[in-house]
Amino acid sequence: MKIALTDLPFEPGALVTAFCADRSETGAVATFVGLARAEQGAAAALELEAYPGFTDAAIAEIAAKAVARFHLQDVQVVHRIGRIAPGEAIVFVATAAGHRREAFEACDFLMDYLKSRAPFWKKEHGSDGVRWIEPTDRDRTDAQRWD
């Protein structure tokens, strides 16, 4: 299990390559990459704040839950913090399991948590100024599917 916060751009493909390497009993690897959208120029940049030591510990705790609940062989989460330009990766989640249903559901579960409940504070720098973002109703109902 690897959990990381990074304030530098990262390349999801390279993470997939490393994550898939040397697996002889893994049948399924599901991954998710969240990218910053330009929103047709309305979003100039996204700024994500974390509380190092607290945020990564919270993510590690939920990742451990996912491992137990979905019988994962492995899980990785990389989350960008700081200022993020449109088109750049914000979050990467990878799950490895014997079969695909477990890998998919665990990836979905982790993303719902990361998008709605994880300890980040998000600011959007747009053409009309700066605003703090709260989770959407859909984020909340998506996350409640697992409760």
Binding site: Y51, P119, F120, W132, E134, P135
Partner: protein, 79 residues
Amino acid sequence: MARVLLFGRLADQAGWRDRSVEARDLSALRAALADEDAGLGEALAAPGVQVAVDKVLVRGEAALAASAEVAFLPPMSGG
């Protein structure tokens, strides 16, 4: 001295995000901060704002060790 950390809109509102405050417990810390900036005091007490002492969430009162780290966390937005 407790180290106080503010996150998200709380830091924007206060104009700082990291400082030291002399306080034995959370109430004293909240009082010291409100004394200096009443708006911030209110914001820190608002519903939805959580408090972590040494990176562990606490509810209500808590004693503060000499080198305690106290973080005020506004509603988390997710990543």
